[in-house]
Amino acid sequence: MAEPVLFDIDDRGVATITLNRPERLNAINMAMRDLLWEYLQACRDHPDVRAVCFRGEGRSFSAGADISEFGTAPSLWESRRARHERDVWGLLLSLPVPLVARLHGYCFGAGLELPLCCDVRVASEDGRFALPEVTLGYIPSAGGTQTLPRTIPPGAAADLILTGEPVGTEEALRWGLITRAVPEAELDAAVEEEVGRLLAGPFEPGRPRI
């Protein structure tokens, strides 16, 4: 079976992290979290990495966390300790290099929270964005309750988080939930253009920073 997260560094120093579980719409499970943790540490420690690009294989970027694994943690205390010891989202927010998200299809839950830790979010016009956690009786827990109101106007963030309802690219662009929308056929070129711009010029972080 293919690795559920792929990692590659090209000769320009652009690291690409690909969510690669398309049969599950790239639902992020614990194995993927572990790989993300490993790869992000590599991005932090590898002197050649100058930018990181996130993408999802298949029809969607990511439909969110893998709900089938919920409730399997040994205890609340263990969950808390594990989160603090392997703080994937905190590590993302503190990386010194620019982070770009290439988004398409469903970007739900953790599949939106990961891009919210990035500086640039380029989406194809079929993008759908939501933090639907409250529909399952919980709240965003990959930083979304904090990164969203620091990225888009907080009243709009409250609407998305409290209702759990999705928005399309028009609303997402209006509020800065995505930084650019393009037709699907132009998505790779647009991402490449953003990466090139970030490599060439001075870098102004677009994400909330720790």
Binding site: R80, H84, T135, L136, G137, Y138, I139, T145, G155
Partner: protein, 215 residues
């Protein structure tokens, strides 16, 4: 009482009456409040402490709906709410000069303005949507309906989750990011101990609508 507590502000309404009505929704186990302001609504005064009470201390999410021109105390009330919606043709008038400091601070938070930035005196429905001060705009006359749509969504969610989500958003925003992220984690862990979360996950896996009880 149902899951949605609905309050219509019409004519002259006292601050105490509004506070009492909102408190009644909490006691009656409502999951969300909708406040609709009619054109003649006159709240008299809605001081900054009450604006802060709405977002910081009132436990239920509040959706505010308005048509026409919203100003003065009713506008201050709107700023304290969690979600604002309006009809096309509505406008929000904010008089920065007469606003007390807590109300002005809230306006700046919602508009993403720095302390030294002037608060815009008038925002059309379109401008308020653009600025994210309102998050939904419907055809003229439909604000109440739009608000009920949003409130029905909130009411269908886990009620502990929506209360904690409200707290996470507004109280988290006042904290340094690193601390705010730990705050989110702790609220998440608190939710992991609820029946509602177990029901939410079970319902999702069984492909049926969840039956949240608020436990």
């Amino acid at each position: 009482m149902g899951a949605i507590g609905t309050l219509t502000l019409s004519g002259s309404v006292s601050t105490d009456a509004v506070v009492e009505a909102l408190a009644g929704y909490v006691e009656g186990n409502a999951r969300v409040a909708v406040v609709e302001a009619e054109a003649d609504a006159d709240l008299g005064a809605w001081p900054g402490e009450r604006v802060r009470w709405l977002w910081r201390d009132y436990p239920l999410p509040v959706v505010f709906a308005f048509e026409g021109r919203l100003e003065g105390a009713a506008a201050a009330f709107a700023l304290g709410c969690d979600i604002r919606v309006c009809g096309e043709g509505a406008a929000l008038e904010l008089d920065g000069a007469t606003m007390d400091s807590l109300t002005a601070e809230r306006a700046r938070t919602l508009l993403g303005l720095a302390a030294e930035d002037a608060i815009p005196a008038r925002l059309s429905a379109g401008e308020a949507l653009e600025a994210g001060l309102v998050s939904r705009v419907g055809p003229a006359g439909s604000a109440g309906e739009v608000a009920r749509g949003a409130a029905e969504a909130v009411a269908a969610r886990g009620p502990i989750a929506t209360r904690l989500a409200k707290e996470a958003v507004w109280r988290g925003l006042d904290q340094p990011l690193e601390q705010a992220l730990r705050f989110e984690t702790d609220l998440t862990l608190l939710l992991q101990a609820t029946k509602d979360r177990a029901e939410g996950v079970r319902a999702f896996l069984e492909k049926r609508p969840p039956d949240f009880t608020g436990e």
